[in-house]
């Protein structure tokens, strides 16, 4: 392992993480295509991953990386299920427009 990350360098990574998270968040709110909305959640996962690894490097241990393995697991499971749901919805009514499915609000 290299030396622990300084607070100054940690701030760089956290800033990048915050920017990526907010871009993903804005994308999730503005895009209307179901698949792109899920893609934006993956972008937010990436932002969380950067913060996790940067904090792990700051504290000089590998637990941030180990936790990221579990995040990757959840992300893979979420992507598989979400895409299966999109395919199911598309079979029922051939559109990807999120607003066409507003009756799912219940």
């Amino acid at each position: 392992m290299t030396d622990a990350l300084s607070v100054l360098a940690l701030n760089h990574y956290l800033l990048l993480s915050a920017v990526l998270f907010v871009i993903g968040f804005i994308g999730f709110l503005t895009r209307r295509n179901l698949i792109i909305m899920f893609l934006c959640t993956e972008l937010m996962f990436q932002a969380a991953a950067i913060a996790m690894i940067a904090f792990g490097a700051h504290h000089g241990n590998v637990q941030g990386q180990v936790f990221l393995i579990f995040i990757l697991t959840i992300a893979a499971a979420e992507a598989a299920l979400a895409l299966a749901l999109v395919v199911m919805l598309y079979r029922r009514r051939p559109t990807l427009d999120a607003e066409k499915w507003s009756e799912l609000k219940g």
Binding site: M1, A4, L5, S6, V7, L8, L10, N11, Y13, L14, L15, A18, V19, L20, V22, I23, I26, G27, L29, T30, R31, R32, N33, I35, F38, L39, E42, L43, Q46, A49, I50, I53, G56, A57, H58, H59, G60, N61, V62, Q63, Q65, V66, I69, F70, L72, T73, I74, A76, A77, A79, A80, L81, L83, A84, V87, Y90, R91, R92, L96, D97
Partner: protein
């Protein structure tokens, strides 16, 4: 210290730039948005690098990779065509993997590329190509309405960048109070004590122990190993070679299997449940499904039925 005023100004400029870049009917404003957004990103990175002059931290590759990641992320949420959005996301993943290498997390960098760029994004591309339709048949290149226009771009951008400004303001006030090196005090390469197999292989390769001897214990603090021979003529201490280091993969593996074994099992169960769930959700409708939904899935079940009948008939013909 980074001047917060530059950061907040970059937030405002970035918000306006992103607003112009988001997909809408006309693309006239997109170049202005690109200039504003790029300027905001540059100003933010410049503020960071000026603040950095006080003390060491990151090198120039951070700025290159961060620029790539943020630029590709912006392009991903602003590109009207879903396939291009997915490809730009792969670029984000590659840039983030580069940052992980910078942070000495090689294993996670490669895992990210394999799992995200290799597996998840390919699934996304499959579904995009499966489910994308052209609005009319004569123009297969035309965009659908829901891809070409954003939903509530002004409100979403304002909310997003207010969130960003709040996050950064809190972050710069909070992290300055963190201890400079909060690292737990433990010997370097502490994992060697658990990696006796690796130590033994390294010692055998360096001819420091005889073939019949085995490692009994490794002391990572003094970098020595207790070696015992089967003939029973006592144990001796061997100093480890200096180039024997714990790699990132070793450290992650030791931590994963010694500290979080139950979580690892749970992760496996989650993956299997997700696989089963995806198969159940995305399977084709059965022939005896209600007629209303059957009409939407096309002629595939019908064809497979005739195929089965045909195979059966030919089998009968062959038997007689």
């Amino acid at each position: 210290m980074v001047e917060m005023s530059i950061i907040y100004a970059a937030c405002v400029a970035g918000a306006i730039g992103l607003l112009f870049l988001l997909p809408r009917g006309d693309r006239r404003w997109a170049p202005i948005g690109a200039v504003l957004g790029g300027g905001a990103l540059g100003a933010g990175l410049l503020a960071l690098s000026r603040g950095q002059a006080a003390g060491g931290g990151v090198d120039v590759f951070f700025y290159v990779l961060a620029f790539l990641a943020v630029g590709a992320a912006v392009r991903m949420i602003t590109h009207p065509r879903p396939v291009y959005a997915a490809l730009y996301f792969i670029l984000v993943v590659l840039a983030v993997a580069g940052l992980f290498v910078q942070l000495a997390a090689e294993f996670m960098a490669f895992a990210l590329i394999i799992v995200y760029a290799g597996a998840i994004l390919i699934t996304y591309l499959f579904v995009i190509m499966l489910a994308q339709e052209a609005p009319d048949d004569r123009h297969p290149d035309a965009l659908t309405d829901y891809d070409a226009t954003a939903r509530e771009p002004v409100a979403a951008t304002i909310v997003g960048f207010v969130l960003l400004a709040a996050l950064l303001g809190m972050m710069y006030r909070g992290t300055s109070q963190m201890p400079a090196h909060a690292a737990t005090h433990r010997p370097a390469d502490a994992e060697l004590a658990m990696l006796t197999g690796k130590v033994e292989a390294a010692l055998r390769k360096a001819d420091l122990i005889r073939p019949e001897e085995t490692i009994r214990e490794v002391d990572a603090e003094t970098r020595t190993a207790l070696v015992a021979s089967p003939s029973g003529d006592g144990v001796r201490t061997v100093t480890l070679p200096v180039d024997l280091r714990v790699s990132n993969v070793d450290a992650v593996g030791v931590s994963l299997l010694s500290e979080f074994p139950v979580s690892l099992e749970v992760a496996g169960v989650i993956l299997m449940l997700a696989m089963l769930g995806a198969v159940v959700l995305a399977r084709k409708e059965r022939l005896d499904a209600p007629r209303e939904s059957q009409s939407l899935i096309g002629k595939a079940p019908h064809d497979s039925q005739t195929l089965i009948v045909g195979v059966g008939a030919s089998a009968e013909g062959g038997a007689s």
